[in-house]
Symmetry: C2
Subunit: 234 residues, 2 copies
């Protein structure tokens, strides 16, 4: 009985002092897969490591975290509610359904930009010649979130192979993000470390050297907490 | 000293009685990934489970196994030499390099039939309109192995969404296989079980009900051993 009381006391204490205590945070992670037929698909190199690390760090920082993950070999982080999706379309639906009540959305998923225009119901038989695949644009989930956002804090990612800063700044503004974390594609995909630069909506930026993704995740959570304070969410 | 002798005795005994003792077996597993740019690729649903199970079963049956695996989340089976590849082209090179000295090749990999004709060196920027991707045929590794085979036993797989038997028979003959294991795509991909039919070069076939892939793997190894005896490899 007395232990329970002590336990409750410290839980309450902890809840009060943790930087993201009481905050509802949506994290997306992994690639998406865009079907061409029941067997073949388009995808990308994302492993999900960055998003999973952020979900864990946000959970440790006291947040109520939902992780929406595309196909990833990683196992569910403990104590976090995980929703598994396959395509960009499914990812969009799951994110939008939870957006209104979220305090922050951290979109670490590498959602496929394109999907095959038509999906064959049966396996496309090989033919001798080439196969022309018409790919159409997937909905831009982050753009949509930016357009309809109220008080939610919006964090995006950009992996670029060239002109990192220009591309990052353009994305940040176009999508109404509060924070964009950018890296050179070669530095981060499927690796345990990354070398990132934080771009802020007020125009300033912060470049970091190579760090474990776990450490980057903690920096992101700390930054999100600070941005929430500044914006008066707290 | 005496223990070593006993140990050697039983090892020799074991080696003599195991059905694939002394046989060099190449197993391929998993999907391949065909790059469109440094981040995006084409692939398929193969998890590698069937091939990994076969490699393990062949190892337990005494064979000297090399597993050539496309990208898979599975960890290396113990006691088996594993070579990791990404594309069909790499898979082809690694298989051909070892073919001459192999007693049997079990091609469980779901090698991509097509690859993008050109691979962009940098990330293709999104544009508003559609993206036309011209896919060209990958080399048909199994066909090539069938064409240049000497005494090697050749085992292939077919996952079909329709006309299973016709497609399987045609593949078996066209590629000079000794055994083809066919299943309906919906029954096997990324699952722990499968429902397969064995098609033999002499025209007969054997259909099995749903079984764990481990059990299918053991049946394949037993069948390979029997076919080797019949063909006088032993």
């Amino acid at each position: 009985e007395i232990f329970n009381t002590i336990d409750r006391y410290f839980s309450a204490e902890k809840k009060f002092t943790l930087p993201l205590a009481g905050k509802k945070i949506l994290v997306t992670a992994g690639p998406t897969r865009e079907a061409l037929d029941p067997i073949r698909f388009f995808s990308n190199q994302s492993s999900g490591k960055m998003g999973y690390a952020i979900a864990e760090a946000a959970g440790e920082a006291g947040a109520d975290v939902t992780l929406i993950s595309g196909p990833s070999a990683l196992s569910d982080p403990s104590g976090i509610s995980v929703i598994r999706v396959t395509s960009a379309d499914e990812m969009r639906r799951e994110v939008l359904a939870r957006y209104e009540h979220a305090d922050a959305v951290i979109k670490a998923a590498a959602v496929a930009d394109y999907r095959p225009e038509s999906v064959s119901g049966s396996k496309i038989k090989k033919a001798d010649g080439p196969l022309l695949v018409k790919m159409v644009r997937n909905p831009d989930i982050l753009m949509e979130l930016g357009r309809i956002k109220k008080s939610q804090l919006l964090v995006g990612f950009a992996a670029e192979t060239e002109q990192l800063e220009d591309n990052a700044r353009a994305k940040l503004e176009k999508k109404h993000l509060d924070l964009l974390i950018a890296n050179h594609a070669a530095d981060g995909f499927a690796k345990d470390t990354n070398k990132v630069t934080f771009f802020f909506a007020d125009g300033h930026q912060k470049a970091y050297g190579e760090m474990p993704k776990k450490e980057i995740a903690e920096k992101i959570c700390r930054t999100v907490s600070e941005l929430m304070e500044t914006s008066g969410q707290r």
